[in-house]
């Protein structure tokens, strides 16, 4: 066992986790500011310059609140469910490559926590296990709104997970690998079509898959216009109606971490990740992810909410056939490309 490598990847993971938590805190600030601008408001601007200390103030407030357990809750499950949600959320970032290998003090530091050869499936598996935090929390609260939120969420996540997975198959066919590192390497090549020199980003060769992925990712993270599990105007707060204090904040933070991870993933899978026109590096990834995060907020400011049956109809009747079509087309093109047709 190579202990040095293990230690290095542990350290990278530790740094990444902390950066992610910090980012997530500021994601709440970012969302509130952007949303406020879109709505002719100012947003938080009292705590620190530009309200930059607002996330910290919010965190302190949430930690200081009473942790209430309802009388007819399933106590143990109720207490554990938010932790489950929160703990699983950042794991997806572990497989995202943040840059080339660094050489620090004579040690190779890969800017990637774990290069798993089934990385894409791993991310999908995390998403499917992540739903337990929601469903168990909703069930254990002993509240009907929570129960309905949990039911909605289950159906939604299962359906959109399918679309998410199938939309990625096209990318997998093109790259021929499940490893994000390989997928990234494929995208770093350039594509020459006549006089044009384009990056081989999969958004260009897989635009349909990209659109499907984006829609499914929004649904998967329970964000507007797919925020039915927590639709505050129907289900009060959905599965976390009964939660308060830091357990509430765990659900809240898990949602934001999921958004960041999904944005990073979308940037890596379709927009070439760290690849950029000049000076490849983590800043390009950050820029692309930031665009997706803005997109999330933009959607929330613009669109009404779907109804439950419309949401399921969209997944099963529109997105799923489109994803299958995309797979078939990509497969045909690929076969034609290698001369098998």
């Amino acid at each position: 066992m190579d202990w040095q490598r293990l230690l290095v990847s542990y350290l990278v993971g530790f740094v990444l986790l902390n950066v992610l938590l910090g980012l997530m805190a500021y994601m709440t600030w970012f969302e509130r500011r952007v949303l406020a601008r879109l709505q002719h408001r100012v947003g938080p601007n009292r705590t620190g310059p530009f309200g930059l200390l607002q996330p910290i103030a919010d965190g302190i407030k949430l930690l200081a609140k009473e942790d209430i357990v309802p009388a007819n809750a399933d106590r143990l499950v109720f207490l554990v469910a938010p932790l489950l949600s929160f703990a699983l959320a950042p794991l997806g970032a572990a497989v995202i490559p943040f840059g080339e290998t660094l050489h620090l003090f004579g040690v190779d530091v890969p800017l990637l926590v774990a290069d798993i050869n089934v990385a894409v499936l791993y991310v999908l598996a995390l998403g499917s296990v992540g739903v337990y935090g929601i469903i168990l929390g909703g069930y254990a609260s002993g509240n009907r709104y929570s129960l309905l939120g949990a039911l909605r969420s289950t159906a939604q996540v299962i359906s959109y997970e399918l679309v998410l997975g199938l939309s990625l198959v096209g990318v997998l066919i093109l790259s021929g690998s499940l490893s994000l590192q390989d997928i990234l390497r494929e995208q770093q090549r350039t594509l020459v079509i006549g006089p044009l020199t384009l990056p081989n980003w999969y958004i260009l060769s897989q635009p349909l898959a990209f659109a499907l992925f984006l829609i499914a990712a929004v649904a998967e993270t329970n964000r507007a216009p797919f925020d039915l599990p927590e639709a505050e105007t129907e289900l009060v707060a959905g599965y976390f109606t009964e939660y308060s204090g830091f357990r509430f904040s765990f659900y809240f933070l898990a949602e934001y971490i999921n958004m960041i991870v999904v944005s990073l993933l979308a940037a890596t899978l379709f927009l070439g990740g760290i690849d950029g026109p000049i000076a490849d590096g983590v800043w390009w990834l950050a820029l692309k992810a930031l665009f997706f995060l803005f997109f999330y907020v933009w959607l929330r400011a613009t669109l009404p909410r779907f109804r439950y049956d419309q949401l399921m109809g969209l997944a099963w009747k529109v997105l799923l056939p489109l994803a299958l079509l995309n797979i078939a087309l990509t497969g045909l093109v690929r076969l034609w490309g290698i001369g098998a047709l």
């Binding site: 949303l35 709505q39 408001r41 709104y145 925020d227 129907e234 909410r305 779907f306 109804r307």
Partner: protein, 409 residues
């Protein structure tokens, strides 16, 4: 087809069919719920997400306003009308004041009538803006509510300029207005009329052609015209179903027969039609206000001081003994209208708002009854809700446009 002449027979086995089974969920929506617009409680029987039965429970905001009216002198009751439909206070004032004036046989001067119309139409816009914002918010369109409340502020500023209050205006007085119109008010209203069509376009950009908005509102909560009439619906709930009934046209009061406007009627009777109708009503209100501003005399009396039922003019109270005594009696004892009963309805932003007053010749009404439009309109909720999805319920509550202060009174 149901025979309308016969009462519907209740069959016991059928009653069992609608009592909730173990599989069904009885969900209490409200009285503390973000989208029941106050303290409405709706008891829903759900199968999955489908609503089997819907039972609105009201009365959580009941303050006995009608009974209070029977223990207050006529002029004292005007502020109470503010507190029934608190997002459209001037219209409530207007309905009551017109009823009392009808009872006493007073006619407010022309100039006051025009200003009453302007204020009533501004109120309609303000109320529709609150409706639009909350309705869109219920369906999930977050930003519209902030835009509408931004523009409602302009109307509230006009109210503030006019009478000093923004929400509970207590604006109308029996006989007209006792204070002069602020000189820069007409320009303020004109400025608003120039600005507001742009704002409507902004809301429509966000909603009217939005596919999710269409999916959430089209075909949802359909009320057929005959059903709407059976329920006694009024306002946009009735006109959305294509029935032409607008008190301003059917029984013109004030000077509505001197202005030109159109009554929008829906074609399908669903949530979307009611949305379209209300949007058009706001445009028509702007038209009415513009015409009123053109026609209103720049000076002239604002109060029907010739009537003995009206508070004497301020200057005379200070200078003449007779008016001082009259004022003293008016304030301490109140005026005593003739015996009789009267009903007067106005086209409130939510429908027909009627005040029914029985006078026994004393300074206090013998009986006061408020026909509040949203109380009547709310009855259609169970009809619209059956077979709808849970998420539709909030859209349906929104489309009726209720204010619980007016429903419960």
């Amino acid at each position: 087809m149901i025979d309308f002449s016969q009462p519907t027979p209740v069959i016991l086995s059928e009653v069992r069919l609608i009592t909730p089974t173990r599989r069904e969920l009885v969900l209490n929506m409200g009285p503390q719920h973000p989208s029941t617009h106050g303290v409405l409680r709706v008891r829903l029987t759900l199968e999955g997400e489908t609503v089997i039965a819907c039972d609105p429970v009201i009365g959580y905001l009941h303050r006995g306003v009608e009974k209070l009216g029977e223990s207050h002198r006529y002029a004292q009751f005007v502020p109470w009308t503010d507190r029934t439909d608190y997002v459209a206070a001037p219209s409530n004032n207007l309905g009551y004041v017109l009823a009392v004036e009808k009872l006493c046989g007073i006619q407010a001067p022309e100039r006051a009538q025009y200003w009453r119309m302007i204020m009533a139409e501004l109120t309609r816009i303000a109320s529709h803006l609150v409706w639009l914002g909350t309705h869109a918010l219920d369906i999930g369109a977050l930003s519209v509510s902030l835009y509408t409340f931004r523009d409602r502020e302009l109307i509230l500023d006009i109210f503030e300029k006019f009478c000093g209050a923004r929400l509970t205006t207590n604006m109308m007085e029996i006989g007209g207005f006792s204070r002069e119109i602020p000189p820069d008010l007409p320009e303020m209203v004109r400025e608003f009329c120039r600005y507001f069509p742009k704002a409507i376009r902004q809301y429509e950009d966000l909603l009217t052609e939005n596919p999710i908005w269409l999916a959430r509102t089209k075909g949802v909560g359909v009320i057929e015209p005959e059903v709407a009439i059976n329920y006694g619906l009024t306002g946009a709930c009735l006109r959305g179903s294509g029935v032409n009934y607008d008190v301003r046209k059917a029984m013109p009061y004030l000077l509505y027969d001197r202005v030109e406007f159109e009554v929008p009627l829906g074609t399908h009777g669903d949530v979307y039609d009611r949305y379209l109708v209300r949007m058009e009503e706001m445009r028509q209100s702007i038209r009415i206000i513009e015409q009123c501003l053109e026609q209103v005399p720049t000076d002239g009396p604002l109060m029907a001081y010739e009537s003995p039922y009206v508070i004497p003019p301020h200057k005379n109270v200070m200078t003449t003994a007779e008016d001082m005594q009259r004022h003293f009696i008016w304030v301490i004892k109140g005026f005593s209208p003739p015996k009789g009963e009267v009903y007067h309805a106005v086209e409130h932003s939510k429908g027909e708002l009627g005040y029914y007053i029985v006078s026994d010749g004393s300074p206090i009404p013998y009986r006061l009854r408020i026909r509040s439009p949203d109380f009547v309109n709310l009855q259609s909720l169970p009809y619209m809700a059956q077979g709808a999805m849970l998420a539709d319920i909030v859209a349906l509550i929104g489309t009726i446009d209720i204010v619980l202060g007016s429903v419960d009174r």
